[in-house]
C-alpha cells in the first residue's frame, strides 16, 4: 500500500493483507540498494500470522518517492514519520544491514513506541572501505558485483537448484539503482553507513528487547563487528538475544526459514 509520508508517496508491502489497527505491527527496513522484496518470506509469514506488516521501500528507492536518506539519522526520522502516517502507535522494528542501523537509531528516538528491535546483519561502526565507496560512486556495476560476492557464503544456491539468490540480487541492485535518476543511492547508502557514529549511544537509549541475527560467515558485517553493539546491549541491561546463522550477509535469502523463525520466536516471546 502507499502512504503519504512527509508529502511523499511511500510504498509499504503489507504481505498481501490489509492493514488492521487491531493487530500488532512489524516494520521491515531494507539495506543499501535493496527494497521491500528482500523480506518476502518473513513478511508474508507474519502478515498471515497475526501481524500488520509494513515493509517499506525507503525514500528514493524503487516505488517510494522523496529524497534518498543521506544519513542514518535522517532515515530514522523518516521511520518515525512513517509510523505517524500509518497511524501506528507502537511497532516492532526489523532492519537489515544499513536498515539495522536505521532501526536502532529510530528505536532510541521512539523509545516506548518500539516494542521489539531486530538487527539482522548488523555492525557498529559499519565502516565501508574507500575502494568500495569509490566503486559504488564511479563503477556501480562493478561494485554491485563485488557486494553480491562478499554478501554470500556461497555463490551456488544454498537451497539447491531453482532457488535464485545471486542473480536475483544482482537484478534487484540494478533495478534499485535505476529507480533513482537523481541520486546514486548505492553510494549514498554506503556513505550513510560509513559515517554513522551514534550506534553505541543509540543502543543505550533503546527501551525494548533486542534480537541480533548474525551470519557466522558474514564478510560484510562480521559477527565480530557486531560485538560492540552486543556488549552495549549487555552493559546497559537490555533484554537481548543473539541468533547465529551459518550464512553470509543475506540471512533472509540464504536461510529464509531460520531467519523467519528467529524473528517469529523473538516477537512471540519478548
Amino acid at each position: 500500500m502507499y502512504l503519504d509520508v512527509n508529502g511523499h508517496k511511500t510504498y509499504c508491502y503489507t504481505g498481501g493483507k490489509p492493514f488492521d489497527a487491531a493487530k500488532p505491527t512489524a516494520v521491515f527496513i531494507h539495506g543499501v540498494l535493496n527494497d521491500h522484496s528482500v523480506w518476502i518470506l518473513q513478511t508474508r509469514y507474519l502478515a498471515n500470522h497475526g501481524w500488520n506488516v509494513l515493509a517499506v521501500d525507503l525514500p528514493g528507492h524503487c516505488k517510494s518517492e522523496g529524497d534518498a536518506p543521506a544519513s542514518v539519522e535522517e532515515a530514522a526520522e523518516f521511520v518515525a514519520a512513517l509510523l505517524d502516517a500509518a497511524g501506528v502507535k507502537r511497532a516492532a522494528l526489523i532492519g537489515h544491514s544499513w536498515g539495522s542501523l536505521i532501526a536502532l537509531e529510530a528505536a532510541s528516538r521512539l523509545k516506548d513506541r518500539v516494542s521489539h528491535l531486530v538487527l539482522v546483519g548488523t555492525a557498529f561502526p559499519m565502516k565501508v572501505s574507500q575502494a568500495l565507496l569509490d566503486a559504488a560512486l564511479n563503477e556501480p556495476m562493478k561494485a554491485l558485483n563485488m557486494v553480491n560476492v562478499f554478501s554470500r557464503s556461497t555463490l551456488a544456491p544454498p537451497l539447491g537448484a531453482g532457488s535464485w539468490v545471486h542473480g536475483a540480487s544482482m537484478a534487484l541492485g540494478r533495478r534499485v539503482l535505476a529507480s533513482n535518476t537523481q541520486v546514486n543511492v548505492f553510494h549514498r547508502g554506503f556513505k550513510a553507513c560509513d559515517s554513522y557514529t551514534n550506534g553505541e549511544a543509540a543502543m543505550a537509549g533503546v527501551s525494548c528487547p533486542v534480537l541480533f541475527v548474525l551470519g557466522a560467515q558474514d564478510q560484510m558485517t562480521t559477527p565480530k563487528a557486531a560485538q560492540a553493539l552486543v556488549n552495549k546491549a549487555r552493559d546497559s541491561g537490555k533484554k537481548f538475544s543473539v541468533a547465529s546463522l551459518p550464512v553470509g550477509h543475506h540471512q533472509m535469502s540464504e536461510t529464509p526459514e531460520a531467519t523467519l523463525f528467529a524473528i517469529r520466536d523473538f516477537l512471540q516471546s519478548a
Binding site: H36, C62, W164, A168, A171, L172, R174, R175, V176
Partner: protein, 295 residues
C-alpha cells in the same frame, strides 16, 4: 524505426524472436528490437536455444525474458526433453500498465500481487506457480540432473562446436557441388556484420546449405553419411543432418519455404563434437555419392 511512433500504436503484449533463425541463421538485432519493444511498453522475449549463454547473453543487449530448449546445447547430449525460462528482472510490469495479471490482485492465489511480491521475479513467480498448480509442470529429477550436469561442460563443448563448425563451413563453401552455405561466418550471409557484433564467438553450429542437383541427389547425400546421424534434433554432441523440406518444415508451402530460405535441396546440419576431419571426410563421401546419383 525507433521513435517512428509506430511502436506505441502496436497492440502486441510481447515481442518475440530467436537469437538466430532456424535454419537460415538470420541474426536478431536484439538492441534494436528491444528498443522498439520498450517504446511500446512491452518486453522482448528471446529464444536463445541455438546460441546458448556461451555465444550471447541476450539480457546484456536489452532482452527481458529468455528461454532455451534445454534438450539442445544446455544438456548437450540429446538425452532429455526440457526447457527453461529466465527473467532478467529488468522489465517494469507496473510502469508498462499492460499486465494486470502481474500487477493486480489475483484471486486464484490469495489475492497475490506478483509485482509486489518480487520486484525482479514477478513473471517467473506466476509462470512457475501457476504452471505447477494448473498443469503439474514439474520436471523429473533425473531430467533436471542431466541438464544441470550438461551445463557444467557447456563452455568446453561450445568452443568445440564452434571450431568444428568453422572448418565444416569453410569446406562446404569451397565445394563445387554446394551452391550455398547459410552461415554468418561467410561474408555472403545477410547477417554477417550483425553476427560479428552480437555473436563474436560464433553464430552457432546449426546451419543449412544447398546441394546443386535434384531431389534424388539430396537423398543420396543423406543416405551416404555415416558419421552424421539422420535426426531431427539439434545441439547434440553428435553431428546431425536432416532435410527440412521433407521433415521439420514439411507442412510449409513452397512459397513459405522460399521465404524462410529453404529449398528442396536444402540440408540442415548440426555440427557436433567429433574430430572435424572425420566430419569433413563423411561430407566428402556423401557429396561424391550425390554427384554419382546425378550422373
Amino acid at each position: 524505426m525507433v521513435g517512428s511512433g509506430a511502436a506505441p500504436a502496436c497492440s502486441a503484449r510481447v515481442f518475440f524472436g530467436e537469437t538466430v533463425g532456424n535454419p537460415g541463421l538470420d541474426v536478431l538485432d536484439i538492441p534494436a528490437v528491444s528498443a522498439i519493444a520498450h517504446e511500446a511498453g512491452v518486453p522482448l522475449l528471446v529464444d536463445s536455444t541455438l546460441t546458448s549463454p556461451w555465444l550471447v547473453k541476450p539480457f546484456e543487449h536489452g532482452a527481458d525474458l529468455v528461454y532455451h530448449s534445454a534438450t539442445k546445447f544446455l544438456s548437450g547430449h540429446g538425452t532429455v526433453i526440457g526447457g527453461i525460462v529466465v527473467d532478467g528482472g529488468s522489465f517494469d510490469w507496473e510502469k508498462s500498465g499492460k499486465f494486470a495479471e502481474l500487477t493486480e490482485a489475483y484471486d486464484g492465489f490469495h489475492n497475490m500481487v506478483f509485482s509486489e511480491e518480487s520486484t525482479v521475479g514477478a513473471f517467473l513467480l506466476r509462470a512457475r506457480r501457476e504452471g505447477l498448480r494448473d498443469f503439474g509442470a514439474c520436471m523429473s529429477p533425473h531430467t533436471a540432473w542431466l541438464i544441470l550436469q550438461g551445463i557444467e561442460t557447456l563452455p568446453l563443448r561450445m568452443a568445440r562446436h564452434m571450431g568444428n563448425t568453422e572448418k565444416v563451413v569453410q569446406f562446404l563453401a569451397s565445394h563445387p557441388l554446394v551452391s550455398r552455405v547459410g552461415h554468418p561466418l561467410l561474408e555472403s550471409h545477410t547477417s554477417h556484420a550483425l553476427a560479428k557484433k552480437l555473436l563474436p564467438r560464433g553464430a552457432g553450429s546449426v546451419f543449412s546449405f544447398d546441394i546443386k542437383g535434384n531431389r534424388a541427389q539430396g537423398k543420396a547425400f543423406i543416405e551416404a553419411l555415416k558419421v552424421f546421424s539422420h535426426l531431427a534434433n539439434v545441439g547434440d554432441c553428435r553431428s546431425l543432418v536432416i532435410h527440412p523440406a521433407s521433415t521439420t518444415h514439411f507442412r510449409m508451402t513452397d512459397e513459405a519455404l522460399a521465404a524462410g530460405g529453404i529449398t528442396q535441396g536444402t540440408i540442415r546440419l548440426s555440427i557436433g563434437l567429433e574430430d572435424p576431419d572425420d566430419l569433413i571426410d563423411d561430407l566428402k563421401r556423401a557429396l561424391k555419392a550425390a554427384e554419382k546419383a546425378g550422373a
